[in-house]
């Protein structure tokens, strides 16, 4: 179990890196708006092709 003497500081180091990444992301404002990105994701794959079907559908059934 002596491996713990290496793994333990390594683990602490890794979580330290994760904390740094978290601090960086917070500083960039990535956690400021927690609502919109969830909605934005749903829209991303709407393309021009979608547009056509949409207007057709609207033409038929307003």
């Amino acid at each position: 179990m002596t491996v713990l003497f290496i793994v333990f500081p390594l683990a602490v180091l890794l979580s330290g890196l994760a904390a740094l990444a978290f601090i960086w992301a917070t500083g960039r404002g990535q956690f400021d708006d927690l609502d919109t990105p969830a909605v934005r994701l749903l829209c991303d794959d709407l393309s021009e092709g979608c547009t056509k079907t949409a207007s057709q559908r609207n033409g038929e059934k307003p």
Binding site: V12, I23, T26, F31, D32, T36, V39, C43, L46, E48
Partner: protein, 825 residues
Amino acid sequence: MTASATVSAPRESSPELRGAFGGAAACAHCGLPVPDEPDLGQEPHFCCSACGLAYSVIHEAGLGAYYLHRGQADGSAKTRGTGRSYAEYDDPAFAARHVETTPNGARIELFLEGLHCTACVWLVERLGRVVPGVESARLDLGRSALDVRFDPKRVTPSAVARGLDGLGYPPHPSGAARREGEERGERRLWLRLGVAGALAGNVMLMALALYSGAARDPAYAGMFRWGSFLLSSVSVFYSGSVFLRGAVAALRTRTPHMDLPVSIGILAGFTRSAWNTVFSRGEIYFDSISVLIFLLLVGRWLQLRHQRGAARTLDLIAALAPRAARRVDGESLVEVPAETLAAGDVVEVGADERVPVDGVILSGRTSVDSSWLTGESLPEERAPGDRVYAGTHNTSRAIRIRVEVAGSETRLGRLMQSVEAAQSRRAPIVRLADRVAGRFVVGVLVSSALTFVVWCFLDSSRALDNAVALLVVTCPCALGMATPLAVSAALRRAARAGIFFKGGEFLEALARPGIIAFDKTGTLTEGRLGLASFMGESSIVPLLRAAEGRSPHPIGRALHAALTATAELRADEVEELPGAGVIARVAGRDVRVGSAEHVHDAGANGSAWWRTELTRQASLGRPAVACSVDGNVRAVAAFNDPLRGDAVRSLDALRALGYRVALLSGDHELVVKSLEPELGELVTAQGGMSPEDKLAWVEAARAEGPVVVVGDGVNDAAAMSAANVAIAVHGGAEASLVAADVFTTEPGVGKVLEAVVGARRALGVIRRGIGFSLAYNLIGAVLCMGGWISPLVAAVMMPLSSLTVVTQALRARTFDAPKPRKALA
């Protein structure tokens, strides 16, 4: 700020509009029924030209997928533009305040009306396709705020605004008050929370290793103990510094605060554990401490988040206030920011618009509703030469005004400043949890000292350990979480019900029965004229309806709306005599509606019964008109500002809860007296009160107990700032929103009742949470005093007690079903 807000919730539905034209075809853009019989050959149908325009703009930009993505339009969206020019956005003064220059161009933040769904995000963020020169548009749905970056050489701010308006989202400048400081504060708390969470997880893993056997080997034990010492010191002095600083402040100001017992527990546990780590002996509590800090921060963060929700909604409502004025430049009208107007400028104010400045009427006669400013519910006639004030409502005709003062120098602006000053002077409310904390600290310190002394005699080697264990175990994790969690859950539920609290302490303050003082106009009453009585021959009703059909005057509109006729007639000629009445020719007959002189001048004859009736109505404080046909007075119609449908029932419900109701009105004494019998038992019912009178009354009443002031006008703002809790109802003036601690997005007393009932339930939840956590602490204290506790027991008990409190706080029903109004009816 010069003009006042016409407050409207950004996402409200309009069922009354939908109901009005049942069965007709639906508008292809907004989903509302199309009012006129649609031309069946032509599809799609639109309910108005603005929708048609928005539809074509969206399709021309190749963004038709909006309609697909939006799903079935149900008419709940107000996706309609205004068609304004937004010329004031190009004014240098506007640009200086709202447009920010960036290295790559410019950016502007705009609040949007009418956002309601996923498809809106999609559509709005593709603004660049509709308005060339817009580089990016990012929407924050929570705040309804759009961040637009554009190239100022290719596109003007007004074109950006027109583009958004064309899509059906009228924009409003977000105002100078970008809450930079608050945002930074929230980010800092979020960082502390995240770091505390990571540390707590790691320290717990190390504690697990120690509990499960690593402690037996001194080498491993030392490593884990030192590891958790290092990590938890970051937790205590970085993440936990919030509590330490709060405790220092509490000591300095000698006010009890929750942070004090929390800090004592944290520091006692940490110091003892650090000591034991350094000397490799005894127990350590690092795991308990770091989890405690994390959980407490979660509670704080949740509360802050929901509190900010109310602030954001308020920002949005404030931004909806019209800030543009139409200045007359020679022959043309130019839209300019209202605050750039100077004395001597001439502005035009259209019918149904707010007056943006204090000034004198140059041309045009109209009636002006100053209910926000003075509480006077009836509109008054204004003619050239008369003075009008910013914030009043021009109800009937367009007028031109010579500006005397604009911006913060107006009567409205000065009132706003005094309200803001009063707000900053208000004493903070001491919360229940903080009061409990004060006694709690004493109890814990005394019992800890007692434990130490008693164990000194029994077994001196364990005395210090047991005393410290007591401090750690009684560290009020659950107590510290009980309030923030219950409050944040209640705020969330309240916001969903359309009630916004600016802070959790107002939940507690509102829950204590006291006097609730209501303003009359717009709170208990509808805030507009309705027909109170109609005395005379009903056969002339069709004639009157026709005569008043297109009247811009409030009385004319009330009369037209209240009368129902089987046959619709058309008026051939209509002449409005400002200040007197209407002369119309309907079906060849001479119809006059107006004052006694007006109809009498026309040679009215017959008995004087109608004069008696007019006098009688005037003595009741009601404006009344005589109606004559072909020179004979045939009817007298009287008007009042009717009580809201739910007013009496809600007041009764409030009285049943132990509150006493008072009526403080700026309106005429007679009007107030005429309402009094309907309203039931009142502490007082006073009319003709100036803002100073109201303030004095509230201050006097506060000597006896808590006072809640409900209002909507500028004239209530001073009294609201003096009250324990101030509630602004929907449709209120900006000043009342500034002064308010609680505001609602629906008009009327029903929401006030809901707020009170919800607040009482929330206080119950807070009390139960505090009770639970005190019980746990008591058990812990007894265990420590008996010497039966170990860090493991402490580590298990703490989350267990927190879990109880969290569950009961989050599951409790406060502002939602069962609907308070139904439950009480």
